[in-house]
């Protein structure tokens, strides 16, 4: 067993378990903290997959900024915990879980049916190169400069919008 395999099993396991914990904890603060762990271990997986830049961005943007924001709003609103997870219309929730389980099985089945691994053999040299900041930056500012600008406008609209909605009174 190589270190790569062990690490990816560890990170993947943490990802799966924390994802489940996020949706089963009653207290939203605990959910949010498990989501941080989930994002951090995802960053670990990205490192194994040779996506260095995205791994760092994942830690800074997701686990850092976005989740701090979530925790901040939870603290601000201090919502009561949902008392009983399955109390309200339990049959609907059980139905939901069954449906999603079917979807999940379907997705796995189809991934195996497609068998992408037969065609895709990881080329380490190429993939190491693909994940560098230099490579991403070059693509971002040449071929994909238009989406980059669109993302800028998206962030502008979101900033203005969040201010309008959340501010109590405008002077």
């Amino acid at each position: 067993m190589s270190l790569e395999l062990i690490l990816s099993i560890v990170f993947g396991g943490i990802c799966a378990v924390t994802a489940l914990l996020v949706i089963t904890r009653i207290n939203p603060v605990i959910s949010a903290l498990f989501l941080v762990v989930n994002f951090a271990s995802l960053a670990g997986l990205y490192l194994i997959l040779n996506a260095q830049f995205i791994a760092i961005a994942q830690i800074i943007v997701y686990a850092g900024a976005i989740m701090v924001f979530f925790l901040f709003v939870i603290m601000l609103l201090n919502p009561e915990s949902e008392k009983k997870f399955f109390s309200h219309k339990p049959y609907i929730k059980i139905f939901t879980v069954v449906i999603v389980a079917i979807v999940f099985v379907q997705i796995i089945y189809m991934i195996f049916l497609a068998q992408p691994s037969e065609e895709l053999i990881k080329e380490s040299a190429k993939s190491v190169n693909a994940g560098t900041i230099e490579q991403i930056g070059r693509e971002l500012f040449t071929n994909y400069v238009l989406p980059f600008e669109a993302a800028g406008y998206l962030l502008l609209a979101a900033t203005i919008g969040a201010l309008v909605i959340a501010k109590k009174k405008f002077e």
Binding site: E4, V22, L42, V103, K126, N129, G131, E139
Partner: protein
């Protein structure tokens, strides 16, 4: 040593399904948003996996954009939650029902 690509794809499918279950079953609007983030992250994992196995940068670029969108969406969503909390003093989706769901 080669880790089969299915390993990552199954993990991402699992996270996606968990996210969908969370959105459908949880009643706290903030937790619902966290589950949406989970769904976005599972898609990110798929993109990064394929990008790495194909040796192609575009997938990672896409993830970078998705992160920007996720941040914007979280900001807007949480602002709306704050606005609705001011009006109704609750963020439980079951109690927010002037309009029929």
């Amino acid at each position: 040593m080669q880790i089969p690509i299915e390993y990552y794809l199954i993990l991402s499918a699992f996270m996606f399904s968990v996210g969908v279950v969370g959105v459908l079953t949880r009643r706290n609007a903030i937790v619902v948003f966290m589950c949406v983030e989970l769904m976005l992250n599972s898609a990110n994992l798929t993109l990064i996996t394929y990008s790495s196995y194909l040796g192609d940068t575009v997938g990672q670029l896409f993830v970078f954009f998705v992160m920007a969108v996720a941040a914007a969406e979280a900001a807007v969503g949480l602002a709306i939650i704050i606005a609705i909390f001011r009006n109704k003093l609750t963020i439980n989706i079951d109690e927010i029902n002037i309009l029929k769901w």
